[in-house]
């Protein structure tokens, strides 16, 4: 009884997150407009039945753009988290299993990456590459693997000391098999928690990069660049900033609540 109560928040958050994701995925079915449908005769229209979230500076439907923007933002969040997880787990696993100078070199690189402030680094990096969706996914993903690598390495170090690993080694199991069969599953829960949190962080980083104009390029909407463009009209057309802002808020909030719940279970 107590346990189910404990997790009510997480279940609610999970349900809301799922709803948001499904809405975004089904965007083309839910709205009669296209995201770049410019209608200069109908600019800055307040929310109405025709345009539930109003229209923007170019007369485009804000609801449509929010949903399509959420798609991009969610894709960036998920895939960047995947990049983070893959790179982090690989580096952590190699480091934790092989030890020696490779471990040392990899961990110093991790320390170095952790020490350089992340947003300034991303801002410089974004100036080098053409800001496309794949480029942003890779950049944001590469900016966050360090925590995962450390966690996985620590898990590996402690798991390696355990008797069943010794036993596996004693019966002549191949190192790769030991890693895949015994060590990785052991480190997986911690890595999953880290990856969940990385989704939320990636969405926030995309919006921060948009603030400096180096995020997703127009006319493609992302929640971040919509907010960025809405800055100028926050006091005259508040709906332009409100709806994408709420979407980011709800998405990231629910991701974090679910992630924290997974993390709490993991600790027990």
């Amino acid at each position: 009884m107590k346990r189910s109560q404990d997790r009510r928040a997480a279940w609610t958050a999970g349900a809301v997150l799922l709803l948001l994701a499904v809405t975004a995925a089904a965007a083309p079915l839910l709205t009669p407009y296209v995201p770049d449908g410019i209608d200069l005769a109908n600019r800055r229209a307040a929310p109405s039945f025709a345009h539930l979230f109003g229209t923007d500076e170019l007369g485009r439907d804000v609801l449509t753009r929010t949903l399509f923007g959420a798609r991009i933002s969610l894709v960036i969040g998920l895939l960047a988290a995947a990049v983070t997880a893959v790179v982090g787990v690989t580096i952590g696993a190699v480091s934790g299993y092989v030890r020696g100078w490779i471990d040392n070199a990899l961990m110093r690189l991790t320390d170095a990456m952790l020490s350089v402030p992340r947003l300034p680094l991303l801002m410089i990096a974004a100036a080098i590459f053409e800001p496309s969706v794949p480029a942003l996914i890779i950049l944001i993903g590469l900016a966050g693997w360090m925590e995962t690598a450390r966690i996985v390495r620590a898990e590996f170090l402690s798991l390696k000391e355990q008797t069943y690993v010794d036993a596996a080694r004693a019966v002549g199991m191949q190192p790769v098999r030991i890693v895949v069969r015994h060590l990785l599953p052991g480190a997986a829960p911690a890595a999953v928690v880290a990856a969940t949190l990385a989704v939320g962080r990636a969405i926030m980083l995309e919006s921060a990069m948009s603030f400096f104009g180096v995020g997703i390029q127009p006319p493609q909407p992302s929640l971040g660049n919509m907010l960025y463009q809405a800055q100028t009209s926050m006091s005259t057309e508040p709906w332009l900033a409100f709806f994408p802002g709420m979407f980011i808020f709800l998405t990231v909030l629910t991701v974090y609540v679910v992630g924290a719940d997974l993390g709490a279970r993991e600790l027990r």
């Binding site: 350089v116 080098i128 939320g200 921060a208 603030f211 800055q231 802002g245």
Partner: protein, 316 residues
């Protein structure tokens, strides 16, 4: 103890060199250079640009430029700003107090918010208060900083007129109240992100502390519950909390980049955005090295502090 500190400091040196290579390469890989800003002026001709490029040493090979920079950096000659010709160190130091003021205020705000949220969360795990604090604390990290910042400005400065919209002080330096009224909004915005993480952290370390044997013993001896919580459990949980606080304070410089830009705060963050826009290489390098070094050394300090305060942790 002494040997431990020395060893850690020595380890930090190659780390910083590695960072400098990474950062130098990245900055110079970014398109454009310090001379491009001149192009906005129609009187500036290609021959002017070429003349400046040679004069500023930007025509030399990149490795040569790096080695020259590294040599200068080690002996304390950090060079001159490409923008205004003043020594880089002078430009950074004059911005430092503002950033420290903002970060100190933000740490204070975040700690004040995180303490009750974390403690009550830990005491009543699963209760309505715990759920509320969880949601409230996550809300802080789920809103884009610039969005919240502009919203606060519109409400408290433009609509209500209670607080100044931005800047560090009114003209003439202002008194304490004036300075507080300037710092409060940026500090809250900057604090929001960390308050959430800190309250989560405190909640879990308080949770652990409450379960510990000596706390149970204290309870068993009939010590009042309030005293148990505030004196014993909190004191125990505070130690790791303070170390996290120190490490995050260094990271706040990053968050300050956006906050300072939105609130026209005259600190290192706005210096960075300005220097990046003008590709002021020397200033960018010095800024990134200084912030990275701050992270490295605050981490180190946190470790050392941990060892001093908690004798149970072995120095090895």
């Amino acid at each position: 103890m002494f040997r431990f500190v020395v060893r850690r400091v020595v380890q930090a040196v190659p780390l910083l060199v590695l960072i400098s290579v990474l950062v130098f390469a990245l900055i110079h890989a970014a398109p454009g250079g310090p001379l491009e800003m001149y192009l906005a002026n129609p009187n500036v001709r290609p021959e002017d640009i070429e003349r400046l490029r040679v004069a500023l040493g930007l025509d030399r090979p990149i490795t040569e430029q790096y080695l020259a920079w590294l040599k200068g950096f080690i002996v304390g000659e950090w060079g001159y700003s490409f923008t205004d010709g003043r020594p880089v160190l002078e430009r950074l130091l004059e911005r430092l107090p503002a950033t420290l003021e903002l970060i100190a205020s933000a740490v204070l705000v975040a700690a004040l918010a995180a303490l009750p949220l974390g403690v009550f969360g830990a005491l009543k795990k699963g209760g309505w208060l715990d759920h509320t604090t969880t949601v409230v604390s996550f809300a802080g990290i789920s809103l884009p900083v610039f969005w919240v910042g502009l919203l606060l400005q519109l409400v408290f400065a433009v609509a209500l007129g209670w607080l100044p919209s931005s800047g560090r002080a009114s003209f003439g330096d202002g008194d304490l109240t004036d300075r507080l009224s300037h710092v409060i909004m940026p500090a809250i915005v900057l604090a929001a992100v960390h308050a959430a993480a800190w309250s989560r952290f405190l909640r879990s370390s308080m949770g652990t502390a409450v379960q510990q044997r000596f706390i149970l013993a204290a309870r068993a001896r009939g010590i009042h519950e309030r005293r148990v919580v505030w004196r014993h459990a909190l004191q125990n949980a505070l130690l790791p909390f303070v170390t996290v606080l120190m490490m995050d304070a260094a990271i706040m410089v990053t968050g300050a980049v956006i906050t300072e830009s939105v609130f026209a705060w005259p600190g290192l963050g706005s210096l960075f955005t300005e220097a990046l826009a003008r590709r002021d290489y020397t200033v960018l390098m010095a800024f990134l090295m200084m912030t990275s070094a701050a992270v490295v050394f605050l981490n180190l300090a946190a470790d050392v502090l941990y060892h001093i305060l908690d004798p149970r942790v072995s120095v090895r």
